[in-house]
Symmetry: C2
């Protein structure tokens, strides 16, 4: 392994995979890819992903088995993405080095150390899709497109993009995070994309406040919830696209946007062109992409992925692996307090002495009160400097200096607290689908002799 | 499962084992035992042991596989102990319900909830042997027995038990703990007895201060270490008995005893009759049983189990699973800060509301400063009442009241701090043989609706 970059050579990668007891076909595939890969040059960030897992040592075995078992595709494979639409989406947004979990639907994330920007660039923002990307989005085609507002409103609306763009615009930084971010840390494991820490981004979104539009339509007293509809085609004929919503108070909150720009550019296809909802601080599935309709409901929305175990959490704390009756599940809403270390990188090597720790913290509907950093498994803590958020719902940057005392293995931990005294847990409380993971982030590093 | 007792029925046990994917031969064995067991009546505490593991839910699978893979014998099997000597030792000390890890050598422990006594009764003290128990011990036979003190002393001694008993006696409570206690919590797993929390006891030991004896022999300036020899027969002809020692300062410390009584009775066979060393606060292997010789050394003792990876720790923090060169290993000495919850029991059920948490805390060469208890994965902590120790090296009792807010799964955590501010770690730092485990003790409980 190239210690400085945290990358594995192909030889190292193959050896590690073999040592980890990967099935022969996985090793064969790696060898085959290795041959092809030589044409592309150096090993990319996918190697780093493996190295990061590997850095936990012999525990790697489980990680490796999981890796291959679950079909996680490191970026060494990324240029091997075979689905046309997935490849097109990755190329259009320049997401070089992303780790692809699935191609259909396309789900992909970056490593925590690749997300150090205060404003997440488009080419570093994670991708979470439930269906396919509409052709309209790739073609930037507004022909026939409109946004309908109907249901419990006095005046149903049908708005063109021109009309929306003529309304008062608002630009905010907003943390959007997949409900399953951190799922790979659940024990026992749960089904679904095995996100590590990277299914989070805080980009700058420009659009109109959903509240302004709903006021224009005139909410009836019976309005209690929104239902969001997009035009993303389902993956198969028998599947319907995701359709989630939010309570009307959250919909009316000034930071809930109908966004048409991301970081000052029209939305890329994969991020929802021409229009998406941005519901900051809440589980990412609320932030529907490729939006065409908002149905104002007189009850909690019951669209696809609102019911059963989808994006729902137990109403009470459950034991790891426990069967939870469906009637005890509740819709997931805002994220609990959370932080992420973006530097140093997992698996990086350092000299003994001072090391700067950087990262972000965010707290759903709350404010981040403080962030603390530990290098001794939680025995002692250093309070980090914490920057103010750009606006409510933007993540906040922290920085701390720690002293790595000498040779050996250390884990840098960050722990954030919100304004109600809630801290990140030291063990991940479990739920059936692995949502809202906010266990203390642990970054293993090494001090060389 | 009988929720109140935390015990599994045989049907439940078999079902769980099958669900956990145990190998067919394990299930067959269980069915066979079940048939025989019916003659003995109700399922014993072994069921509780399984239930405790099972309480972590689907994570059970790994636990179960480990359980069967490693040959841990729950007490449902205990009456199946086939080794004559092991059975005799268990019967003589009345250790009903103990969980037997191995029979030859005999290694066995109780559950944490079975260790609530301030002074651990003989019938609840763990057993850790490296070899066999001398026949002399079973026969309480002092014929031909003597303790020799030789090496770097001015006057080598050969003491009869009568002579030792005529020296000034001293009685102390002393925490003795196997170096591998908590090994089962190491990740990745390490070889060796998969102790849970029970390889610890704090009984009352009576004997003479080793320092008094060494002063009588007259230490030379060259004396730096002790080497302890017992008369326990090795397991096989090519194995030599364990022979460990301590630095001379620790040997001279007034609490380091040559003990001939345990809780006011002559030492039971399995605990070292007629004489053992008690080195309180230090890794248990220092406390040699069936003692016949102390060789005062002019260097660190190099007897069996003093070298290589035996009872040795890396000189610097290592990554989980890391290969550590032998020259970087150092002899294990005193235990780090630690606590254990003895009530409520793992897997117990409660009504919402106040629950009393009890346990012990100890700190090797240090003093326990405080103990805190959490029921929310370390978010908030309640300071426990902490009793003074009976004497230095005795464990200290703590008690706290927590409020279980409502239905669901909770984990009660206890965390002790020593007088230098060292707290128990939230993750277990790893070492190659899984010694000195002191991760925060987690006790899962359930509040019923």
């Amino acid at each position: 392994m190239d210690r400085k970059s945290g990358r594995l050579s192909w030889d190292g990668l193959r050896g590690r995979v073999q040592d980890a007891g990967a099935p022969p076909e996985a090793v064969d595939r790696l060898v085959e890819l290795e041959g092809r890969r030589k044409f592309f040059g150096q090993v990319g960030r996918g190697g780093a992903t493996l190295a990061m897992l590997g850095f936990f040592g012999a525990g790697t075995e489980a990680a490796m088995r999981g890796l291959f078992g679950r079909g996680l595709i490191p970026v060494a494979w990324a240029q091997e993405v075979t689905d046309d639409q997935a490849r097109q989406a990755l190329q259009e947004t320049g997401k070089e080095g992303i780790t692809v979990h699935n191609e259909r639907p396309l789900n992909a994330e970056f490593g925590a150390h690749e997300l150090a920007d205060e404003i997440t660039p488009i080419n570093r923002h994670f991708i979470r899709n439930n269906g396919l990307i509409p052709q309209r989005a790739f073609q930037q085609d507004l022909q026939g497109w409109a946004l309908e507002i109907d249901g419990e409103v006095n005046q149903p609306l049908k708005l063109t993009m021109e009309q929306i763009r003529n309304m008062p615009a608002r630009t905010i930084q907003a943390s959007l995070e997949c409900g399953g971010n951190g799922r790979s840390l659940f024990d026992p494991p749960v089904r679904g994309n095995q996100w590590r820490q990277g299914a989070i981004g805080c980009s700058e979104w420009t659009g109109v406040s959903l509240g302004d539009v709903l006021r224009e339509a005139g909410l009836r007293d019976s309005a209690v919830y929104t239902g969001h509809y997009g035009e993303d085609p389902p993956l198969a004929g028998d599947e319907v696209p995701i359709s989630r919503g939010v309570p009307i108070d959250k919909a009316m909150e000034e930071h809930t946007l109908l966004a048409y720009q991301m970081n000052g550019e029209d939305l890329p296809a994969v991020h929802g062109f021409p229009l998406r909802i941005v519901v900051p601080g809440w589980v990412g599935s609320c932030s529907q992409k490729w939006l065409t309709r908002i149905w104002v409901r007189d009850q909690e929305h019951d669209g696809p992925k609102m019911l059963g175990y989808s994006y729902r959490m137990p109403a009470y704390p459950v034991a790891p692996g426990e069967d939870v009756p469906e009637e005890d599940m509740e819709v997931a809403k805002d994220w609990p307090i959370k932080s992420m270390i973006t530097g140093p990188a997992e698996g990086s090597e350092h000299a003994a002495g001072a090391v700067t720790v950087t990262g972000h913290a965010w707290a759903g509907e709350h404010e981040v009160e403080r962030v603390e950093v530990s290098i001794d498994f939680g025995n002692t803590w250093t309070e980090a400097e914490l920057r103010d958020p750009a606006n409510k719902y933007a993540w906040q940057q922290f920085e701390a200096e720690v002293e790595l005392p000498g040779r050996g293995y250390y884990e840098i931990w960050a722990r954030a607290f919100d304004d109600e005294g809630n801290g990140q847990p030291f063990r991940q409380p479990w739920n059936p689908r692995g949502y809202m993971g906010n266990v203390v982030h642990r970054v293993p590093v090494r001090v060389t002799a």
